[in-house]
């Protein structure tokens, strides 16, 4: 028991735990839509693009508002994708690659120019133990906004993700919904940055939801199982990092991959119908 509680004895660790809890609550619930709409690469590129916002936010607003800058960069990236991605002649993933890498590189340049005592690796791989009260407040607000939207639009998201043409026919504004979803992904990326950093954010968004997919026949069940897995991943990774003196962000990301590998193996060994499920993933 002491092994479990020791890491959370200090006030900064308690703040980190609250941040981890909020992240674990949010990530799989937005992650299922990222997976089923095939937006994983988009989410990855968006997380990288936020670096420029982190640098600008730090320079203009100070340490407490880097997440605000990151959010601005994420939304800017969304707007650029919407602007350039409409051309039928250009593959969308290629457009995302060009814009994402450009913004990421701009972020590295900007960080080099900003007078800060925080290293680049701090942003790239996260440092959950240094989250501030403002970080937690911003995270809580973003999590509330995203989860509220997902709850009240759960059916419409389900219908449109399954069959976008039919959803348009029955009155769902699917384009508006897609644009909103991209904004929510930008918010979620910002939430994850504080715990696992820019580079590893996508592991939090994708890994728990993908693992949950192995055992889910509905998207609701995938959300619920994903949330449980996400909590185990985040707090398990946090505890291991504390006791073995590993960096928390990468340890949490590795935990996600380990959990996925274990459950995938279990699914192959135990489930008779897994071949059917595997083909449908």
């Amino acid at each position: 028991m002491q092994w479990l509680l020791d890491p959370f004895s200090s006030s900064f660790a308690q703040r980190a735990a609250l941040e981890c809890f909020l992240v674990a609550l949010l990530a799989p619930n937005i992650g299922v839509w990222i997976i089923h709409r095939q937006l994983s690469y988009m989410a990855d590129a968006m997380s990288h693009s936020t670096l420029v916002g982190v640098a600008v936010g730090f320079a203009w607003l100070g340490r407490d508002y880097v997440l605000v800058g990151a959010l601005g960069a994420g939304l800017f990236m969304t707007a650029l994708i919407a602007l350039f991605g409409v051309s039928r002649n250009l593959p969308r993933d290629a457009v995302i690659a060009v814009i994402g890498s450009g913004l990421f590189a701009s972020g590295i340049i900007a960080l080099n120019k900003v007078d800060t005592n925080i290293s680049l690796t701090h942003f790239l791989f996260g440092q959950v133990l240094t989250v501030t009260q403002t970080d937690v407040q911003i995270t809580a607000l973003l999590v509330l906004v995203v989860l509220t939207y997902l709850f009240f639009n759960f059916r419409d998201l389900t219908f449109a993700t399954f069959d976008i043409l039919h959803s348009q026919q029955v009155g769902i504004k699917s384009r508006r919904q897609e644009a909103t979803l991209l904004v929510l992904i930008a918010m979620s990326v910002v939430v994850c940055i504080s715990s696992v950093g820019i580079v590893l954010t996508v592991s939090l968004l994708i890994a728990p939801s993908l693992t949950a997919r192995l055992f889910s026949i509905t998207v609701l069940r995938q959300c619920i199982i994903g949330t449980v897995i996400s909590l185990v991943q985040v707090f398990g990774g946090f505890l291991v990092a504390f006791h073995l003196n590993y960096p928390p962000g990468p340890t949490i990301a590795v935990a996600g991959t380990v959990i996925f590998t274990i459950f995938y193996t279990v699914a192959v060994l135990l489930k008779d119908d897994f071949k059917v499920q595997r083909h449908s993933i």
Partner: protein
């Protein structure tokens, strides 16, 4: 060719779908042009044409999913392209995201969205409507089955149930009979007969001429323009088939 028991078309039913000089252009390219025809209540009609003839485009235009010129009337009422909820478009199976984890009853529930936003918990009336629609396509026990566990023919019936849940009077089935075996194709024909008997109108696209000749008493032939309208044994006869399949 012997026609064993084609789906008959009642000549006296009211006109349910009327299409007047409908055209769709993709930029400069003509997809379908100057299409006009009427479908009566209870009719089951095949739309025949080669790949790329514009069958899916015509269906999407009729369902209000893409912009078009010309006019479409449903039950005598002129319909703006955004208001075609009484026209149920049933896409090719592969157009839906079959990797998505969803139960059969939730697919059918999507049809009820036409009448307003559906909350997290489903109302009793919507639940009853879904059960009734599944019953109509002989899938009463499949509500809690994951869609991915069904065969291609069964999935088509689920989509038909969704269109019924939408209370669509006109059903547009895009290549519903392709890729399914004879048994399921026969079952599909039976489903059409039942829908026609309930006063619904069905327009089904196909590039399988023998399937249409054997099972339908009216067909439209399309290759960018409407090439024929009538008994498939006549308009798809060897003498006229070249005209349909050449552009």
């Amino acid at each position: 060719m012997q026609v064993a028991n084609p789906i008959s078309s009642p000549p006296t039913g009211e006109i349910l779908l009327s299409v007047d000089t409908l055209s769709v252009f993709y930029g400069e390219k003509v997809a379908v042009e100057n299409i006009s025809f009427d479908l009566r209540q209870g009719e089951v009609v095949a739309l025949v044409g080669p790949n790329g003839a514009g069958k899916s485009t015509l269906f999407k235009a009729l369902a209000g999913l893409i912009r078009h010129s010309g006019d479409v009337y449903v039950a005598g009422q002129h319909c703006h392209h955004l208001d075609r909820k009484r026209v149920g478009y049933i896409p090719q199976i592969t157009d839906a995201n079959l990797m998505f984890p969803i139960l059969v009853k939730d697919v059918v529930l999507a049809g009820r969205r036409r009448f307003g936003r559906i909350g997290f918990s489903v109302s009793k009336s919507d639940r009853n409507a879904v059960a009734q629609c599944l019953n109509e396509v002989d899938l009463a026990d499949a509500g809690n089955t994951p869609l991915s566990h069904l065969s291609g023919g069964q999935i088509q019936r689920v989509f038909i149930a969704r269109a019924i849940a939408q209370e669509a009077d006109v059903l547009l089935l895009d290549e519903a009979a392709s890729g399914i075996d004879q048994k399921h194709a026969d079952a599909l024909i039976e489903t059409f007969r039942r829908l026609a008997g309930q006063g619904r109108t069905v327009l089904l696209s196909s590039h399988n001429i023998s399937y249409v000749v054997e099972n339908f008493s009216r067909s439209l032939s399309l290759n960018a323009t409407l090439r024929g309208d009538g008994d498939p044994r006549e308009i798809l006869s060897p003498a006229r088939i070249t005209d349909v399949f050449s552009r």
